[in-house]
Homo-oligomer: 336 residues x 2
DNA sequence: CTGAAAGCGCTTACAG
DNA sequence: CTGAAAGCGCTTACAG
């Protein structure tokens, strides 16, 4: 037997469908007594309003879409969880889509979401200004997460990579380290670039005499390991390494320890991300923690505001999620 | 300006809406020439069919729902990724919902999905037979993932915990270990119980003379650490530890090493899950790997079959995803 | 307060 | 091949 419709409820309660609709949507415009009768009838029939019909007439889907580059790994896991929680608390459903290999696939995913969502959370390497102009349905509330976009047409939210990196450099400097080498991430990667910028800025302003030293990496543990070997060959040897992410820091740590260096006595090591593993390597890794779930939650909050007040969207509004220094054993004063 | 509708396209192309619909849905029933004209008009207007209207009339949402207990952590991260990939390859959208603290919240989430999805992937601690009968919309194709349900009314998919645990025990036995202690998971946890069962079965059938030894744990690293101390106190000391999950194995490893035991020479340690960290502890952890993404993918495949052939649903069909032994340095022959 | 009716944007028999 | 029309299940002015 097919699911009950509003007609069935109306018949069961002996009223019109209009009254059923009113009773079930807040109960305004019906007497308490009719309302009660309708509610009971609906319960008896296990009536659940047909979502599509409601969407069609109200032009509201009560759903938000999340377009992400991937779902795998710590970062996305936390991000989507933050989004999910915030969406649920607003009574919104969450439609996810990820793993778009190229811009065309991302565009298709974007199109496919059209009409299914009231708003969009978008994080994509393809999301430059052109792409958005081409593919984003106009008037669809959208919040950009961690995109490289600098334009002022959309709300955007990102991690404070720059500030986080500065925290790390200042921490290392405060320990008395003066020869801090930076292991870069993949060229063109936005996070990596911003973290490097923070390193440069902080060093320039707080220790103008300290040399800026860069080693190439690609975020992989292996590249960190290789960079570790390069560090070993540098003369005079750096007294601290700051890797643009934890995995490289971990690889570097391994290379340095294999060579017999004591950490942090001989050389301090810092990373970025605070992956779960950071606490488990030997010695535990000093790093920068970002509250990713909060990133997702705040993005959802921003989107929620747009949904509630479509008129005064503060397009171009930017917000950042703070990063935080987590000191562990891999960094300490040279003496001890 | 509001989004273009099928009427706009019809007017633009100078045909009826019926023809537009036919042209855009496979092009059967229109001449190539008209079809072409319609396609161009649609493109010009950036026409995207209104999803809700289509759902309403076709009774198809082209969406599947995934109800999960959580989204956080390695397991769910991989699971949802496997689901997402498989869904996309079938042209299906993915609606997710998670973190239902109690049965009532899970029920509400289930109800909210009604009418929004063509099928359901369900993994929930609350999903016992009663719960499903009460809350699952009838006739909604559903695949249960890793539920404790033994009934024969639904398709179900689960991890082969039992077989995986047997692999580990057989491995340890093959190394000559004869006193293998098992660290249990949380009481009532299905995975934990099945893994323990595998331990018992395997020991009983392959080494009936070996003692069965159980220590209580709760899947946390701390509980593994505590269990490690208990292991140290046992006389004669076990020559191998099999923890019901990796985190406990890692905690146990720490306790044993702190006490000066050599691993694996003095005692071998095995875990279950193959979390990313397993490769990074010292020594790297021997464990059981489960292809979680495959679990998600296969669940989606099972659901896809039901969607394609609603008539011959093989309700009650069970399937398991294999587990695999990954040997690392934490286990080896006692000699070295 | 209540109901009849229009209409949201589609698809699909049904005629022509 | 093509179009007019019905209808999917709702909500919401509009009357009464």
């Amino acid at each position: 037997m097919p699911a009950a419709t509003i007609k069935d409820v109306a018949r069961e309660a002996g009223v019109s469908v209009a009254s059923v609709s009113r009773a079930l949507n807040g109960g305004r415009g019906v007497t308490a007594e009719t309302g009660q009768r309708i509610l009971e009838a609906a319960q008896r029939l296990r009536y659940v309003p047909h979502a599509a019909a409601r969407m069609l007439i109200t032009r509201r889907t009560n759903t938000v879409g999340a377009l992400l580059p991937d779902l795998y790994g710590e970062f996305f896991s936390e991000l989507i969880r933050g989004i999910d929680l915030a969406a649920r608390s607003r009574g919104l459903h969450l439609l996810v889509s990820s793993s778009h290999d190229d811009a065309e696939a991302a565009a298709a995913a974007l199109r496919a979401m059209q009409g299914r969502v009231d708003g969009l959370l978008l994080m994509s390497p393809h999301a430059d200004a052109d792409f958005l102009r081409q593919n984003l349905p106009q008037n669809l509330p959208t919040v950009l997460i961690n995109t490289r976009l600098s334009g002022a047409d959309y709300c955007a939210l990102s991690v404070d990579n720059d500030g986080g990196a500065r925290l790390m450099v200042e921490h290392l400097l405060s320990l008395g380290r003066r020869r801090i080498v930076f292991i870069q991430g993949p060229p063109g990667n936005r996070d990596a670039t911003q973290r490097e910028l923070g390193y440069r800025e902080s060093l320039a302003s707080h220790a103008p005499d300290s040399p800026m030293m860069m080693l190439r990496g690609d975020f992989s543990e292996e590249s960190g390991y290789r960079a570790g070997h390069q560090v070993l060959a540098m003369r005079p040897r750096p007294d601290a390494v700051f890797a643009a992410n934890d995995m490289m820091a971990i690889g570097c740590l391994a290379a340095l320890r294999e060579a017999g260096l004591r950490i942090p006595q001989d050389i301090a090591v810092g990373g970025f991300d605070d992956v779960p593993m950071a606490r488990y390597v030997t010695p535990p890794l000093t790093t920068i923690q970002v509250h990713i779930a909060e990133l997702g939650g705040q993005a959802m909050a921003l989107l929620g505001e747009q949904l509630d007040h479509p008129d005064d969207v503060r397009a171009g509004s930017r917000r950042r999620v703070d990063a935080e220094l987590v000191v562990r054993a891999s960094s300490a004063a040279p003496s001890g």
